[in-house]
């Protein structure tokens, strides 16, 4: 398969701080990949670079063969990249339905004149958009709650609604920033299954930032590990779990040495620590 997203030598500085340093990154179409790393490693910064929230200082990012660095956020969204946020950023005072309708914004065509005149095509488009929004509500198990304010939904529902809003844009690539943050293990399990379903049923390529190792190891086909803005490891989960530099980055040198002595640890032991 052809790579969907190719980042080369991406560098982002904030003053003297190198948030992302010469990062090379490739994402295959139809894959589920994770970016992990300790706090402040530059994961979210990297996301913001892809989605056009930040302008990169050096390097290039190509999406589906097109360079996207320097494009506006809405242009990038039009190309097919949608995202969620580390701290949920729903339109809090809009209902769940309205959030999903805004999500479809870029796929709708009606102009203001058409809306004022209430032409048949506008009405038909609105009807389809509402139908699609209701379908998405069912998809995330929120059927019947469409008129609830986003801010009044339970936390887990808000997370899923945010994902659904991103899906409403019909993206090719979905960037999920800590989709299971603040969830208990049962909810994490649901979210993992949900994300896998997105890829399997809808064929959407998924890149996620995640701290919960159980989720990361359970879902990812490839993992990229960042530390101080640099890529320190990349590979399938089993490989990453055994990687000495990764363990060191997470636990510090001394603990890493201790862990290394117990090298016979079964896979998955990291999850207990993290």
């Amino acid at each position: 398969m052809a790579p969907l997203l190719v980042a080369e030598h991406v560098t982002k500085r904030f003053g003297g701080l190198l948030a992302v340093n010469k990062l090379d990154f490739t994402l295959e179409q139809g894959s589920i990949c994770s970016v992990i790393g300790p706090n402040g490693a530059g994961k979210t910064t990297f996301f913001n670079c892809i989605a056009g929230f930040y302008r990169i200082d050096e390097g290039s990012i190509e999406f589906g063969g097109l360079p996207i660095q320097g494009l506006r956020r809405d242009e990038i969204s039009h190309l097919g990249i949608a995202r969620t946020y580390q701290n949920i950023r729903l339109f809090a005072n809009m209902t769940a339905m309205e959030n999903l309708l805004v999500g479809q914004h870029q796929n709708l065509r009606s102009t203001w004149i058409g809306a004022v005149l209430g032409t048949r095509s506008v009405r038909e488009e609105e009807r389809l958009a509402h139908e699609e929004a209701r379908r998405l509500l069912r998809f995330i198990g929120l059927q019947g709650r469409g008129d609830t304010l986003a801010s009044n939904l339970p936390y887990g529902d808000q997370r899923r609604l945010e994902v659904a809003r991103a899906l409403a844009a019909k993206p090719k690539l979905l960037l999920l920033d800590e989709p299971t943050a603040g969830m208990n293990p049962a909810e994490q399990g649901e979210m993992t299954a949900f994300v896998r379903k997105l890829r399997d049923d809808l064929g959407i390529t998924i890149l996620l930032i995640e701290h919960a190792m159980r989720v990361v190891m359970g879902i990812s086909e490839r993992i990229t590990v960042l530390d101080y803005g640099e890529k320190i490891a990349e590979g399938p989960p089993e490989e990453i779990q055994r990687n000495a530099r990764v363990i060191e980055a997470y636990l510090g040198r001394e603990q890493a040495a201790a862990v290394a002595r117990e090298a016979s640890n079964p896979p998955g032991s990291l999850s207990a620590e993290a």
Binding site: A51, G52, F53, R72, R73, D74, I76, S77, H78, A82, R83, Y85, R89, F91, A92, N93, M94, T95, E98, L101, V102, G103, H105, Q106, L108, S110, T111, W112, A115, V116, G118, V122, E125, E126, A129, R145, D147, T148, L149, S151, N152, L153, P154, Y155, Q158, R165, A169
Partner: protein, 586 residues
């Protein structure tokens, strides 16, 4: 808790547990505080001249004047609040209310006594014997104790309303409100009644030349309370809510027709001065709909609204005027589209450089634009074209009629403004419920996320700005024909402030709110010309009170209400959380 809050009759957002502190907490201190506050307000009302100037007007002829009403209302309000803050128990609440009122009244007594000893007119113009006469209800210095008793009694009444069971509370408050409203508008109701031989006798019976007669007051209270009782009895409103959508739709048409007939009849019934007032109110309704798109939906605080108003007004003025500065002598109907398009282009022109500015900064930048326009319009630089301070005159009326036609004068402008306002409201509603309206609200909620959802910020914001400008231009265009002239002093900052205040007081994003806000802020001050000096004083007080007690406006939209009241009351995941639809219907 949320339900209790929602049902507080006054709509105040006081949590029940803080409403009645136990004796141990605060005791009588809040009562005294309220008394002091009431005293300060009463003094303020007297010394700024509100009481003496209101006084010649009567609420009930020969019985109570508006000046006295202002004072007694203060007492009433203090009593109402004091009874809520007083220690538990209805008797203590009443006592507390009376004490608070008496404390407030003591301020006035002190003023009268001090005024008797020293001439205070050097400090405050209105600290005159005439004012003291009013304060003592005509008894002068010997009756200096009277304010204490009067305000104490008024406060006791206020306290009584507070401690009454809700079943009685509502009739008493409605009765008092009805008396106040009908009394204030007595002149407007009386004029058309006397004009017709059919109602002439009745008009004389109910209304004196100023205010209600005693009979009129009794009839008013009886009619209003009777109507309320009937209403509840028939449960018209409740059934109306429970009707299925289709049946409600069928009801809408007759109701709308009656409303339409009323607004068409309105200015004719009440004479030409009122027709002019109603026309101005309608113009403001129209412009408020425009700003509602920019401010209410897209959240762009545009204080340079007057700039587009000016473009519309001067365009029509120049194109149609038969006077000195007229350039084309076009008919009004040809000039209006040009004015609207020009205002829109102007909106784009001014909007482009400031689109990146957010929030408060945008308000400042647009404020600057508004001022530039005002100064330019009156400047010597543009005097050869715009006439400077004397402006463009001899602007003909849109429809040429013989002077004795009923369409002569402000009436036709009213109808034109009304038609324009209906069109604008229609456009505004259609836009609000469209893809574009959702994008505007999304921008207001979170600009960054909206953009990441594919909303083109420049296009979308610019469109909001331009449509708002177009409606302002339309308002200006009609305004210029209302007066037959457009002078530079008409295009001042207050146009912007008035429109913004209408939206804030009426309720952001709400259509009935805009109408109510216009009547309240434009209509009432225009009608009570003798109080026009105090117009902005009332504005200030009204705005502050609104922000404290009802930040979502008199008649808020669904969105604004839930924004300001439900989200902070309901935590996410709160088991008592009510879905927004239910709240919207409630």
């Amino acid at each position: 808790m949320s339900q209790l809050q929602a049902e507080t009759p006054s709509g105040h957002r006081v949590a029940p547990e803080t409403a009645r502190p136990s004796v141990g907490d605060a005791g009588w201190r809040p009562v005294l505080k309220l008394g002091l506050l009431g005293g300060a307000i009463a003094l303020y009302l007297c010394l700024t001249g509100i009481v003496p100037i209101f006084n010649p007007r009567a609420l009930i002829a020969g019985l109570i004047s508006l000046g006295e009403v202002a004072l007694l209302t203060t007492g009433l309000g203090v009593g109402y609040l004091a009874a809520r803050r007083a220690p538990d128990g209805p008797r203590r609440a009443l006592l507390g209310a009376t004490i608070a009122g008496a404390v407030a009244g003591a301020f006035l007594t002190a003023l009268v006594l001090l005024g008797a000893a020293v001439d205070l007119r050097g400090i405050a113009l209105h600290a005159s014997p005439a004012t003291y006469e009013i304060l003592t209800f005509g008894f002068g210095i010997p009756g200096s104790w009277i304010p204490i008793v009067a305000l104490g009694l008024a406060a006791a009444l206020g306290g009584a309303i507070q401690v009454l069971p809700p079943r009685l509370q509502r009739p008493v408050t409605t009765g008092l409100m009805a008396l106040l409203v009908v009394g204030l508008f007595a002149g407007i109701i009386r004029t058309p009644m006397l004009a017709s031989p059919l109602t002439d006798q009745l008009g004389r019976l109910l209304f004196a030349s100023e205010g209600l007669t005693l009979v009129g007051a009794i009839v008013t209270v009886v009619v209003v309370l009777g109507g309320q009782w009937l209403n509840r009895r028939l449960a018209v409103r409740r059934r109306g809510r429970e009707l299925p959508q289709a049946q409600r739709r069928r009801l809408t048409l007759p109701v709308a027709l009656i409303g339409l007939l009323f607004v068409l009849w309105l200015p004719q019934g009440v004479g030409s001065f009122f027709a002019q007032v109603v026309a101005v109110v309608t113009l403001y309704v129209l412009m408020a709909f425009g700003l509602n798109i920019t401010l209410g939906l897209a959240g762009l605080l545009d204080l340079g609204f007057v700039a587009f108003f000016a473009v519309g007004a001067y365009t029509v003025g120049l194109l149609t005027s038969t006077g000195e500065y007229g350039i084309a002598q076009w008919p009004f109907w040809a000039a209006v589209p040009v004015a609207v398009v020009l205002a829109m282009l102007f909106g784009a022109f001014l909007g482009l450089p400031i689109l990146g500015i957010r929030g408060d900064y945008l308000a400042i930048a647009t404020l600057g634009f508004g001022e530039i326009i005002r100064i330019l319009a009156g400047s010597d630089l543009l005097k050869p074209w715009l006439g400077g301070p004397r402006g463009v005159t001899s602007i003909p009326k849109p429809i040429e009629v013989t002077p004795d036609s009923f369409l002569a004068g402000p009436l036709q402008i009213y109808y034109i403004a009304l038609a324009a306002a209906v069109v604008v409201a229609f456009v505004a509603i259609r836009l609000r419920d469209s893809r574009l309206g959702r994008a505007w609200i999304a921008i207001r909620e979170d600009e960054d996320v909206a953009e990441a959802m594919g909303v083109n910020l420049v296009q979308t914001k610019l469109l909001a700005y331009m449509l708002g400008a177009a409606f302002a231009g339309l308002g200006g265009a009609i305004f210029s024909t209302l007066l037959g002239a457009i002078i530079s002093s008409s295009v001042n900052l207050f146009v912007s402030i008035n429109v913004a205040a209408i939206i804030i007081v009426g309720g952001m994003g709400s259509i009935p709110g805009v109408v109510g806000g216009s009547i309240f802020l434009i209509g009432i001050p225009e009608l009570f010309r003798e109080f026009s000096e105090y117009r902005f004083l009332f504005y200030g007080v009204a705005l502050i009170a609104m922000m404290i007690y009802r930040p979502e406006g008199i008649w808020p939209s669904r969105i604004a209400r839930r924004e300001l009241h439900t989200t902070d009351a309901l935590e996410p995941g709160d088991p008592t959380a009510v879905p927004a639809t239910e709240m919207g219907k409630a």
